[in-house]
Symmetry: C2
Subunit: 369 residues, 2 copies
């Protein structure tokens, strides 16, 4: 077992977990500083009425900052809800079928499959393209999609957290609303919101702590929820109430707001994208430079956020993980459904974290390869 000193000098580890995931330390330090007494209000953000002037301002500022970051047009509403992306697997069909009987899905991996299975409760969920034939290691080209003429919407998972597959392009679905689960890469790069009917993203990767989901939806699509839709899942009711039909997850929303400001201070999405490109290039470049480690994803579809890789000799996995952990390189174990390793390198992972990982990987390879 390695007894080398931890690579990271501070008390904090480099956390490569897929989510809940590492957060910007500057955001955590700020939250810590005002945890018991926010801005001399004499109370924590957690203790504020969601209808009081302090919290209403926090929520409004979070929305304004997110709109600025992602250049969200006035045609689209922003909702801050609960239940994560999994709740949206139900809420999206309940709200967006609008009398339709089917929706189209592109299947690129585990998270696509979950969305498809859940939508199947409410409509015919048609898989119009799939990369299952090659173990979900690529994104099917749009020219191969067999779309339905009468789909209420077309759904993609634009970054597969488990498989490490990302759309680096935006599908063109014409009049059919494009719906994207962007949980694990939202805010990692600029995007053209106007091209989407609906975007949703659980917070616990690039936005903030678990317990919050962001929904960005074109306003003309809402107002047609199925009769059995629970009130809190009805986009129209939540939109009319500024996401406060019921008590919102106030502290999570506050932390999301701090994260949006952190991104704005770093040049917004164009700024963070440059850092993300460097981090991904460093790690994939190393993976492709030797044959002790490998990543199976088609080069043009590799995720900048989630980098799965395997060791040539899987019997070394446990030693790899233990030695990495001893260096403060943590949560590198791959998803239980896939095995191997996975480095999630979200916005909050600094370049130094990826440098430390690559240095450790090379050292391990030299010793064991």
């Amino acid at each position: 077992m390695a007894t080398a000193p931890r690579i990271k000098p501070s008390e904090r580890i480099f956390n490569f977990g897929a989510g809940p995931a590492t957060m910007p330390v500057e955001v955590l330090e700020k939250a810590k500083g005002e945890l018991v007494n926010w801005h001399e209000a004499g109370m924590s953000v957690m203790e504020m009425s969601h209808r009081g002037k302090e919290f209403v301002a926090i929520a409004a500022e979070a929305e304004a900052d997110l709109r600025k970051l992602a250049a969200i047009p006035a045609s689209h509403k922003v909702l801050f809800l609960q239940g994560g992306a999994t709740m949206q697997f139900s809420a999206v069909p309940m709200n967006l079928l609008r009398g339709g009987k089917r929706a189209d899905f592109v299947n690129t991996g585990e998270w696509s499959k979950k969305a498809i299975a859940e939508a199947g409760k409410y409509c015919e969920a048609r898989v119009v393209a799939s990369s299952e034939d090659r173990n979900f290691t690529y994104v099917p080209k749009q020219s191969t999609w067999k779309r339905s003429p009468d789909a209420a919407y077309l759904h993609i998972c634009s970054n597969e957290t488990i498989g490490g597959v990302e759309y680096h392009w935006t599908p063109d679905t014409g009049e059919v609303p494009l719906v994207a689960d962007m949980s694990s890469h939202i805010l990692s790069r600029p995007l053209d919101v106007a091209r989407y009917g609906l975007i949703y993203a659980g917070a616990q990767k690039n936005i903030g702590p678990a317990g919050l989901v962001v929904v960005i939806v074109r306003e003309d699509l809402i107002g047609h929820a199925l009769p059995d839709t629970p009130n809190v899942l009805d986009y129209r009711l939540q939109s009319d109430a500024d996401s406060m039909l019921n008590t919102p997850p106030t502290f999570s929303l506050y932390l999301a707001g701090l994260t949006f400001k952190w991104l704005l201070e770093r040049g917004g999405l164009a700024g963070i994208e440059q850092v993300n490109i460097r981090k991904a290039a460093l790690l994939y470049g190393y993976l492709d430079s030797q044959d002790f480690y490998s990543n199976p994803v088609a080069k043009e579809d590799r995720s900048r956020m989630n980098v799965p890789f395997t060791l040539r000799d899987a019997s070394l996995d446990a030693a790899f993980l233990a030695e990495a952990e001893a260096r403060g390189l943590s949560q590198l174990k791959g998803h239980r459904s896939v095995g191997g390793m996975r480095a999630s390198i979200y916005n909050a992972m600094p370049l130094e974290g990826v440098e430390a990982l690559v240095a450790f990987m090379e050292e391990f390879r030299k010793k064991r390869g």
Copy 2:
């Protein structure tokens, strides 16, 4: 306008808000201390995988402590979910109708009415007793309830946050499962869980921050969700997954766990009940001792947690609120649907807060009465 010094010497106000509400300062200080680096793990609780050993232990300990506090029998499952009590207004009928066509409701105020309206989407929601005839100022005696022979369950709101009406007794519904929305008084007094089929409570009063709801449900009642029930609302699926069918609101659950420990250190529910009885006796005793302020609720049904009161001369309301605020007595304004004042005196409100409030009220009365 009062220029008197704030009654409370510290930086923290006394926060009488109904929810999200004041939390134990000891819990907040502990969370602050470990916010950036929990127990030398090198990360915040917010950054932990919900499937990692650290967080699994936090969640298991929270459940064990809650079971100990409320003496929850093995017959009942504990679920930590998202969406607050409002989400349960939908989830309860979706899970508990079990093929039945109707459920019985006792209507004691605004929160009862919301539960009734939402259940009406899924079944015939029958009001078997109501205190609307006297503006929701009492709890109808069980002898007056006109119960249905075939109700799937009977639902009460055991503490009405807005009206300040509390059940100080447990209904006997025989074979029909008793369901209670205990959001605003759970953990304020001992309770006999075995007498309930299901208890639910949004966290943001006596448990922790908003974004978490606790469901305690008798196991034999689950497993019969309606076909359209979203996965994350299906008690059977969540129970089988230890409330981790999807990513739980990890930080909120951690804070709930700290609050459970805070209660255990204070003698558990029997211990905190004694403090709550003293606080309520002090405030109601004062309200009944003069005629400048008054509370409209029948004495035997008054809530120990939420104390609404009015000034004889409503034109003084604004001055009362402003002067109270200047003394660090905050969020005393009554709910917008009722008007007047409301002092919420949950577990985390110390006796000193109620003493300060009563002292201020008497001072204001002498000056303006």
